[in-house]
Symmetry: C2
Subunit: 331 residues, 2 copies
């Protein structure tokens, strides 16, 4: 590891290597090492999470970098059972950027903040010369109030069921299509959405969430692999149960990608105990954001630390943490 | 205002215009509108602040972008009387960046975190293709525990005294010299430093701080102008009392800049009541970071909302909020 490569930002194996060898090593502390979507601080009352957004193009079907920046950070808080409350917004803008475009982006942020009931309370604006940044990057960092404690990637149990909240890979497929100028003349658009309203409904209805994570860079594959390792379990997934749209399947065929490894921006993976699956699915199916939710697998002890994909023909294979250069600037 | 210009990032007048017309307008809320260095949240117990760092070059006399990123955000918290506690660290790295350089930068962050007694508890790492970012940008966002309440730019009183904690303009002068390849063969280096240990000592010794702000982009001029407007007071400064080193004066002559408008990264401006000035100065003079501290002026009602610079020859002029393109990528 002499220079940083695009693969180091893939949300997969090389990304984890860079983070652990450089950042975790220097910043060593108990909270950071839990590797959750958000840090739990102040005696378990608050969640705290950061994300920088560098997506290209900055406007695409279903969202723009502003909506993405609010959803991304609010979702990380929601994944710890926290209601998004306060956000900071820090923008780095390239000289010559259109003010009208900036206003559109900021307005997207405003709309999404309202869906979360959150406020931007601190900000920073930097303008850099042409060529120092490509158009605009946004960092959002958020504080949320934890409404359900104990959600963790480290305590998933055997026989828990694994649910995805939406058909997978829509954000990744949309960005790829936009970047390559592919016109599907179709309904393909990013799944980018705020997930707190969904999580709130689950909590209010008594669902005890074991683990919850939004499947961003590295997709569902990355989340399940991290869970398998962190909880020392085997996650078994049924290939035929994974919801994927025809459009996303089409992009995957062109890319040679697996939908399970494509990025999502409004889709979570949830582990809950089997006795709650019916109630949870009823709630998810009743909400527009999660109406394509599906139970995709269960937790076993067959191959500890591994994710197994069972095909409808009785064969099985391991799904690994994504490696190599996926799509840079996906989020 | 059709496109964003470098002047919109100057920490002065155009910067304020962009922030108020685009960001404040959309994100409208009471906390944001206070325009303090950090937002005060959770019933006045916590401070919350964000900053993105884009400085060029990334390593320079006295600091690097890592040290700057921790000092910058921790100082914003300290300026609200808050002890820095938790930080997030979000980096955007250009493909091909040297891992050894990254390790050096992260190590600078580590050293500075220790000085503040703060921890990085959440992070994000993005790698973008060559040309999408110049080397590395770092965002840090911090939460601090407020140890002295009521510090505010909005409540400075007549007869308060104005103190600067260090000779002014060293950071701005250093970056300019480094960028232009000027070798002063001198001791010119950035003032970049963590200010919480100084603020802690002031608080522990019973100093009641009225207003406190680190004089970053836009320098001391920007701070004093904002205070004059926010508190509706007149700040009168004595030119001969402003501490400026010969090296900084040299750079200012080349630039046609005023030292008062040059950026600092470890220098604060403080307003306190007159009866505390002696005690405060004794404390500041006893600490290495602030040994060049000086009382530079007082608060009057002569020209409300204005900053007046009195020369030793009995003349006086207004000092305005800096305008135009100062030095981009100064922090």
């Amino acid at each position: 590891m002499k220079t940083v490569t695009l693969a180091h930002g893939n949300g997969g194996q090389e990304n984890n290597e860079l983070i652990s060898k450089v950042f975790y090593k220097a910043f060593k502390n108990e909270i950071l090492e839990k590797s959750e979507d958000a840090a739990v601080i102040q005696d378990g009352t608050l969640a705290f999470s950061t994300d920088s957004f560098t997506v290209s193009p900055i406007e695409f079907a279903g969202a723009d970098i502003g909506k993405l920046a609010v959803c991304g950070t609010c979702n990380d808080l929601a994944m710890m059972g926290a209601k998004p409350k306060y956000l900071t917004c820090s923008v780095i803008i390239e000289e010559g950027f259109e003010v009208e475009t900036l206003k559109r982006i900021v307005n997207s942020m405003k709309i999404e903040l309202e869906k979360n009931g959150a406020y931007v309370v601190s900000g920073d604006t930097k303008v850099v010369p042409r060529g120092s940044v490509d158009k605009i990057f946004i960092n959002t960092t958020g504080i949320g109030e934890i409404k359900q404690k104990g959600i963790s990637s480290n305590e998933i149990l055997e026989d828990d069921v694994i649910i995805v909240s939406n058909s997978v890979g829509k954000h990744g497929a949309t960005i790829f299509a936009a970047r390559e100028g592919i016109d599907f003349s179709s309904s393909l658009e990013s799944d980018c959405a705020s997930l707190w309203p969904v999580v709130e409904k689950l909590i209010e209805n008594g669902i005890k969430i074991r683990a919850l994570r939004d499947a961003t860079r590295g997709g569902v594959s990355a989340v399940l692999n991290e869970w398998a390792k962190q909880s020392n379990i085997c996650v078994e997934i049924d290939e035929e149960k994974i919801p994927v749209t025809d459009e996303v399947n089409g992009v995957c065929e062109m890319l040679g990608f697996e939908a399970l490894s494509l990025a999502n921006e409004g889709t979570f993976v949830m582990a809950i105990s089997k006795d709650q699956e019916e109630k949870a699915m009823d709630i998810l199916k009743s909400i527009d954001t999660t109406k394509e939710a599906a139970i995709i697998g269960t937790v076993s002890s067959k191959h500890l630390g591994k994710v197994v994909l069972n095909s409808p023909w009785g064969t099985a294979r391991f799904i690994d943490l994504p490696t190599g250069e996926l799509l840079p600037r996906i989020c």
